[in-house]
Symmetry: C2
Subunit: 420 residues, 2 copies
């Protein structure tokens, strides 16, 4: 894409009404527009990053047999009354709305009840189990405060998976398979080293701990204690001697950290399946409870975490696999030779399906480079007199200071490998 | 995918609370779950079809330089008061909700105002124009009646594009480019022959007609008059002698038809851009109005139209390019030889990326074939004794009665071509 045709531009000013540094930076770079506190629109570059995160998450969910579906945002009250999650005194962050005839509806904040209700006619025999379904969609939560940008939205993008099993043993196998997929996702996003599987309170349905996936970061709202050797964490809320014994952890090996939750997995037992009448018949024809789990990853929150973690004083820094474009390409002098050479390379990269944004503006190089840095594009390619005279292409990585020079063949080789 | 691992199943009974034949059929086949009147969940097979429609629409929007973004569902009241579209007396199909502090919010029914507001800092010079942006997302409309299944939803999936131009001449070029892309989309969806670009009332902002894209069908809610030779239609609402003269059409060549609207395009002039303060500076530095258009295609409505149009008494009939799987594969007798042969072909097709659903159940062939028909899979491949003895694979197309036989190499050749 040519930068002149891109609908957004970068800006030098920090938006005054935005407190969170992730959203400030994404707004300055033209990735995001703030609609109101906790509600953002994804402009083209921002949506490209969201789609790349979604693709990684989707691939790992599909790889373990997850089947994607899409539940509705509008929710009938009756479904949530069955499980006593309709009343605002019980669930205090519903957005609610009304049909023209006055009937109250919920605006989807999670989907256990509707998923069970939609699938209960299909899951009736032990032969139908185990199963895993998931969706990626907007969720709506009526948060009192929403000052953390993409880290805590009133409207946000989430992947939620639900598993169904014949018993606890089958459930445990599914649960661990999903946990393994989560750890793979954080690795692929570039967050693996600092993400800890963390014991957290299990809720009221089971005596098991739930798991949080906590990313160590000073911006985090949570306090956890980590064992770096075992690569495991404990949320402060369950940090006591009794629990540590159950977990097989030793206080002396645990270090306190701030962290931000980038995923969670819950054991639900048969709380929702029983309530909504999803049962299965076993080999002997006996009616039995379906054991469930639920598993969430905040896609837009991940974008916020990645923004804060990788960015520097010059702007955004995207890992290759998440950048809207792998390369930024421009010329130094606006002479015919350089422009022709640049356009030729732009064509070549485009036909090789290597993501490239071509800065075709006649601005000062320093201004262009500042934009490239603010946008966070991983590889900057500059066409200058050396390119014309000596077939030397100037390369600079967003994360490095040095300039590197490649001839044309080396350059293509290098980019093809990077783009894999 | 193996049918035994698919989370849904077909059903023999028509859902009692569903009146629309498109939704009845999609529910029977396990593509859709009804949440409430006008609100559906897309189960895995249904979501696959939606995604295929989205991909075609997205490709054509990108091909004309459209840039995809994603606006928010939650809408601040102030934005809509500026254009006088907040009051329920002015716009009677809003869903509204409230923040915990009592602030009223809208639940997105269209996005002219927020799109202009988000882009007005970026569109400030004649150099920034023309531009086109679009999104694909859920819209919410508080319809009094919602009895037409996917044809009129309270929650539905829509592609909406917005164009920005320096003047009417530039706008007209953009407008016609988008109309051409729309016609291409209907062709690719298999609806081209029966879709007519149709004059409709232009709204209050311009003296131009708007265009509807009307698909001729007895299920349609609209009455139009078509000139089959010119491939053009006139909506009843603008059907009078004066208008026909302006359109250059002759009453004698026009035939009355029922039709369902599958897209529309509007000239907005500078109604929204002026109101929300989006202006540009021309070459001489003069501040000028931005001319806009808006362009909608209902993705889920298209799924409903395609369902009704192609289906027959046996069930769904998907065109190759929209089917969740191109092939249905099964064996006749549950003997080792046939099962092995079937699994081998299943592996081969999967590794060739040819979409296939493998019916691995030991049911009666007649039952399996009925399922294949209800699901609407284009190509049925059956492994039987002839396959084992003579390398003959039995093929039946969903839209044909005859059986055809191919040897293994011919079969792969045929499917590769079909899958292109």
């Amino acid at each position: 894409m040519k930068i002149s045709s891109l609908v957004t531009k970068t800006s030098k000013t920090i938006p005054g009404d935005e407190l969170a540094s992730n959203a400030q930076l994404l707004i300055k770079a033209g990735y995001l527009h703030k609609e109101m506190a906790g509600v953002y629109a994804y402009l083209p570059l921002g949506l490209m990053v969201i789609e790349k995160i979604k693709t990684i998450v989707r691939q790992e969910m599909n790889a373990i047999g997850g089947q994607e579906l899409l539940m509705s945002t509008l929710q009938p009250r009756e479904l949530w009354e069955i499980t006593d999650r309709w009343d605002d005194k019980k669930v205090d962050n519903w957005f609610k709305t009304k049909l023209n005839n006055g009937t109250e509806l919920g605006v989807g904040l999670t989907h256990e009840e509707p998923v069970v209700n939609a699938l209960k006619d299909y899951i009736t025999s032990y032969k139908d189990l185990p199963k895993k379904v998931y969706q990626i969609q907007q969720k709506y939560r009526n948060e009192l405060r929403a000052k953390s940008g993409l880290l805590r939205g009133r409207e946000f993008i989430m992947k939620d998976m639900y598993s169904f099993s014949i018993d606890q043993a089958q459930h445990d196998i599914q649960y661990e398979e999903i946990v393994a997929a989560y750890l793979k996702i954080y690795q692929r996003l570039g967050l693996g080293d600092l993400t800890f599987r963390t014991y957290a309170s299990g809720g009221i349905f089971t005596n098991k701990f739930s798991d949080e996936f906590q990313f160590i970061s000073p911006i985090g709202e949570d306090t956890i204690f980590i064992d770096e050797k075992l690569k495991v964490g404990v949320n402060k809320e369950v940090f006591n001697d009794d629990n540590l014994k159950k977990m097989g952890l030793h206080k002396n090996n645990l270090v306190e950290k701030r962290a931000v939750e980038v995923g969670n997995t819950f054991h639900l037992d048969s709380k929702y399946s029983d309530a909504l009448g999803m049962y299965y018949h076993d080999q002997t024809g006996q009616k039995k409870s379906v054991i469930m789990g639920s598993y969430g990853i905040g896609i837009s929150r991940l974008m916020g975490v990645i923004t804060e973690h990788f960015s520097d004083e010059k702007g955004l820094v995207w890992p290759d696999q998440l950048a809207p474009f792998l390369c930024y390409l421009t010329f130094i002098a606006d002479n015919d030779q350089q422009i022709k050479k640049t356009e030729k390379l732009y064509q070549d990269l485009t036909s090789l399906h290597i993501g490239v944004i071509y800065d075709d503006r006649f601005s000062r190089p320093a201004e262009k480079f500042a934009d490239c840095d603010l946008l966070g594009i991983p590889i900057r390619i500059v066409i200058n007199q050396k390119t014309i005279d000596d077939d030397q292409y100037e390369i600079k990585l967003r994360t490095k200071k040095e300039l590197v020079y490649f001839n044309y063949q080396e350059l293509l080789q290098y980019l093809k490998k990077k783009g894999e």
